[in-house]
Subunit: 672 residues, 2 copies
């Protein structure tokens, strides 16, 4: 029997897809970028899921099973040596290509990590670049490091060739430690690669001035890193070593985990049931999320993020990453290692990636699953009897972590015993820095170490929530609380406040409004809670974070139109997964993103709809963000709102944990 | 040697204070309300702390030691039997009263829990009340429960006598379980007690109607709880019992805790050093908070909270609690029990309370202290070498929990390894409900169970932050990020954004502005970070939560003027600890709260200043909040901002935790 329709493609399936593509392109070079699951069309999948959920455990419906499809992304390199980018869909069962698209030159395929190697090699070969580097007098023992980056937004009027840029640093190799932190020694030049020609076509020289200096003035001396300071983070290079007085906290689960994973994708835990998949662009995705046999979500994913920099000095306006669309969050996922990235009993999930020859291999441990305690879940003490009943909040965490050159993001979906789902993002890693002349400060960032300017920037994320609240026909509304006018009849003491509900009738963008406690509800208008009489639903309060600051109409803003609103509601269409559109690399304008989707002005009440939530962080670095920044944590909470008939966690036992101990008067441990 | 000046009064000291007071009032009855530490005046304390911090460990300065003072709050009951409320300050060392104040009749002393007993007793004795109750036909086995509440804001023009109100419920006693949840059976009447006369002086009848019904219509039948439903939460009464598949998570610290507590008040942990005290009004307070020998805060406390209800039907406008000012959060603190309220290695702190005779006794385990893991603290993977360095975030939690009739709040101060301080509040417990006629719904709340209307309400908290950023002279400013106009010279690509700083020059109130990423910084203008050149400081982003909704000028609004702004900056004065003023019980107007303090329009730059942060929750209940609501969690984060010269957690070891285990393919546990 074929794998479950939501399951990540396995190695065998991936090979079949590759072979079908190769057979279609016999006389050319095929350079593969990605092969991954093309998820089934929803209409067919609904029938399958209906059958699946009504089947007996262990049984799986076969009559309505959608075909296993692979999305294949590859370059065809013909005689002119200029790659042409193709996307095909292959039916694995039929071993047949069922869709084929040649992508126009106006778009660029997502980058692959091996393209980064081309930049590094081209720098080595480029006389111009080597000459530019030689202008600097690096101290003895310092060596050049080139850090490849996407090119950012293409300037208007420039030809859309495939470019990459390199940020340059010097690494102190005297310790012999390859993890010595080279970001502490930035060099003020950026080589630009034409990826098709595999040549450095230009070197951008960077300003290193401070307040009052012109945007283009090159004020630095040839002793470019002499005013920089070492900024190590690997423990063996820390001047003072690591602290010694942090004693271990061990998290053990002597009876094993409360979750069960079967079929390497189906997770069951505390009445929750869902599937996990993983793809190169979005990383971990949750599918078909149920609680106690009732449907809540069809699909949940992190869709996109953009990181624009606010330094106006050219070419820093091209520092703007789209870390999902440009290179793929899944591609950049860390191989998580036990005991550091999570504690407790941990289940890992693998993914499959392909090389440029299309040969698949396992990408191990890219997703981890574990339970954790999150403090008091609910408590009540009857003050008459003194009886306290306290039950803890347990969470199940599905986590993946990506590294994008200097930065890392920790993404987690947390499901809890009270029926809640939290999307959490932690931003950590090393802030992006440039060289600044000795003694100067800047309006464009903060000097976090000698000679090192951490530029002001933003991180704006988009999550995609495809709800299925007791079925696929849902409605979104927002609810606000408003002061009511004093009125002898209706509000004689002035304490009344009114709840106003506004239904989102057509696909559109909406904003957070914390001053009105604006809360978005995703309801099923066809089903009412028997107690309250309200439609069953889930709610969330969009974090009212600052939107994109780049001036309207600027390329930074135009390519990130998804940041214009905190909440978007669109009508569901197959394949519309990406908030900023399919193609973000070098884009000048968001095409096919949520901004375009809402333009269709579709009816979205009692329909199959999708909610997109954007939130972010304006990050003006502080010295404490150096050399590796402490996690900045964001959370969006989805909570049942008249979906259940009581607190779903009311049956969570209030058992006393016997492993906890007391510190006595003398600071010794006493077992109670 | 006398105890440390910040230490909670011990039993012996409390007795001395009581005896001094009794000696001052020889021929009358003295009913004590509270005896607790009167903290030293700051000017003297600064000298002491300077000496203390420059002393060798174990030594403590004696030359500058401030006197130990007790604040004594008591009623004097003379021949007219009408109590007169007094406050005295007693010098414990001198055994002498040093200050004495008779509080005017315009104010009411905070309530004591034994006053609640008077209400219950008076109800039993009141014929009128018994007759009113008898009008209802309660089912066999149901018994009356009277839940005493503060009276709320006094109506204008009414005489300021000392009142309490009782919310009435019926308890199903058929199970014989005294913890059967009586809140599920609300009765529509409220007896009003004159606490001095000890008599029920009035019975307010409650409307039970729904949408379209008048505010005063009494539409209910005599079978008042027949349409209500059982809503148990104690495990033995749950119809389905508790869930069986939640396996334990044990948190163990085989090498003991990383913290050290000496002198029953001094906590040292991971470069942090502070004192904990506890008082009847604010609960746990942190004093003299240092990191790595540098001062950050002089004092940190939760100052006040108000919970106004939005149901316009009289007398519900008088449902407005001030849980710190009315009855004292410390007085309502739970005796925390091991293994439920916290996990791991736990240290408890006791407090001292007095009976009405002034006799002190230990209030055990009112504060708990423990360490916890909070996930990834920082991480960076060098993608060239594959080397991942990941260090976890460790937190030290100082927690106390209060029960206020139906509701509970969990307050925690969390200090972390990255130099951050988080104030966390969890709201849980049972929402306040009233009876609603069968089948009706309401504009004033949500029907969460048969016949039970959970009224819309707000919770608004005020924290008091008395900073000492590298000294007592500090300045507050806020920093915003703003889009900059496109400009050929200064912003040629439109990506620049500008940081605007606004110094708070005079005592004043300010609001959150998330659309501008408004961030408040508390800086020491006299000391600069050597790397960035900025003044050293701490920052926080005030949660932009909804303000009080009661109409301006209403009594609910007038007595809670502290809710008018998210952030207040005032000049420090001794004894100004309470955001809503000293006296909140039955208040009609906030007197002496932050609203009054800022009116002094004082210079607050480079001064000893105090920051007050108000935040809250508009709580329109959902069915899932019943019968005990899942914790709603709020956090305010204070983070160093150019205070340190690098990430203070960079030396936290990245040791792999050996206790974690792997779930293998067959779901068995494998030790890695």
């Amino acid at each position: 029997m074929a794998p479950h329709p939501f399951k990540t493609l396995n190695i065998e399936e991936t090979r079949i897809a590759r072979d079908v593509v190769l057979a279609q392109h016999p006389d050319v070079v095929v350079d593969f970028r990605e092969i991954f699951l093309q998820e089934p069309e929803k209409e067919g999948m609904k029938l399958f899921l209906d059958l699946e959920h009504s089947s007996k455990p262990g049984q799986s419906p076969t009559s309505k099973r959608p075909s296993r499809l692979a999305k294949c992304q590859y370059d065809i390199i013909g005689s002119d040596k200029i790659p042409e980018y193709h996307e095909s869909i292959v039916d694995i069962g039929l071993k047949k290509r069922v869709r084929h698209e040649v992508i126009g030159k106006e778009h660029q395929a997502s980058l692959t990590l091996w393209e980064f190697e081309i930049l590094v090699e081209a720098c080595k070969r480029s006389d111009e670049f080597q000459k530019a580097i030689a202008e600097f007098k690096l101290p003895e023992g310092f060596e050049l490091v080139v850090e490849p980056w996407p090119y950012g937004g293409l300037d208007l009027g420039s030809e859309n060739r495939r470019y990459f840029q390199g940020l340059c640093f010097a690494q102190d190799t005297r310790s012999g430690n390859p993890d010595s932190n080279f970001y502490a020694y930035p060099l003020p030049l950026i080589p630009i690669l034409d990826a098709h020609k595999k040549e450095i076509i230009r070197i951008d020289r960077l300003a290193t001035g401070g307040k009052g200096d012109s945007l283009t003035g090159k004020t630095h001396s040839e002793h470019i890193v002499d005013h920089c300071q070492s900024a190590e983070y690997v423990p063996e290079l820390l001047p003072g070593g690591t602290r010694k007085d942090l004693k271990p906290i061990n998290i053990t689960q002597p009876e094993g985990p409360s979750f069960k994973v079967t079929d390497e994708s189906l997770v069951e835990w505390q009445k929750w049931r869902f599937r996990v998949s993983f793809n190169p662009r979005e990383g971990a995705v949750l599918h078909d999320v149920h609680y106690d046999g009732r449907s809540i979500l069809y699909r949940l994913s992190i869709s996109e993020m953009t990181v624009p920099y606010g330094d106006p000095r050219p070419p820093f306006h091209r520092k703007q990453a789209f870390d999902f669309g440009d290179g793929g969050a899944g591609n950049c996922a860390n191989n998580l290692s036990l005991g550091c990235d999570c504690l407790g009993v941990i289940k890992y999930f693998d993914a499959v990636i392909v090389g440029s020859d299309g040969e698949p291999k396992v990408h191990p441990n890219v997703v981890c699953l574990h339970e954790q305690d999150n403090g008091i879940g609910w408590k009540h003490t009857n003050w008459r009897t003194g009886r306290a009943v306290v039950s803890r909040m347990r969470e199940l965490v599905v986590q993946f972590i990506i590294t994008l050159a200097n930065y890392e993001y920790v993404f987690a979906y947390k499901l809890d015993t009270a029926g809640g789902i939290t999307i959490e993002v932690r931003a950590t890693g090393i802030v992006s820095v440039v060289n600044i002349d000795p003694g100067k400060t800047s309006d464009y960032g903060n000097v976090v170490s000698g000679g090192v300017l951490a530029q002001n920037h933003q991180h704006i994320f988009a999550t995609r929530i495809d709800p299925a609240i007791d079925g696929h026909n849902n409605t979104v509304l927002h609810e606000e609380s408003h002061s009511a006018p004093w009125d002898k009849v209706t509000n004689p003491n002035g304490n009344f406040y009114e709840i106003r509900k506004t239904v989102v009738n057509r696909s559109s963008g909406h904003d957070a409004a914390p001053e009105h406690n604006r809360t978005f509800k995703i309801i099923n208008p066809n089903k009412r809670n028997p107690l309250s009489g309200n439609p069953v639903g889930y709610k969330f309060v969009p974090p009212p974070t600052q939107k994109l600051l780049a001036a309207p109409g600027s390329i930074q803003a135009q390519r990130a139109l998804f940041t214009n609103h905190h909440v978007w509601v669109t009508k569901y269409r197959d394949d519309e997964l990406y908030a900023a559109g399919r193609f973000t690399l070098q884009s000048q304008l968001e095409v096919g993103g949520v901004h375009d989707m809402v333009k269709r002005n579709e009816e979205v009440t009692n329909e199959d709809l999708v909610i997109w939530n954007t939130f972010g962080l304006t990050h003006n670095p502080r010295v404490e963000d150096w050399p590796v920044m402490p996690s900045e944590i964001f959370q969006v909470h989805f909570k049942p709102s008249d979906f259940f008939n009581a607190n779903p966690a009311i049956d969570v036992p209030s058992t006393k944990n016997e492993a906890s101990v007391l510190v006595g008067k003398e600071c010794c441990l006493e077992k109670l």
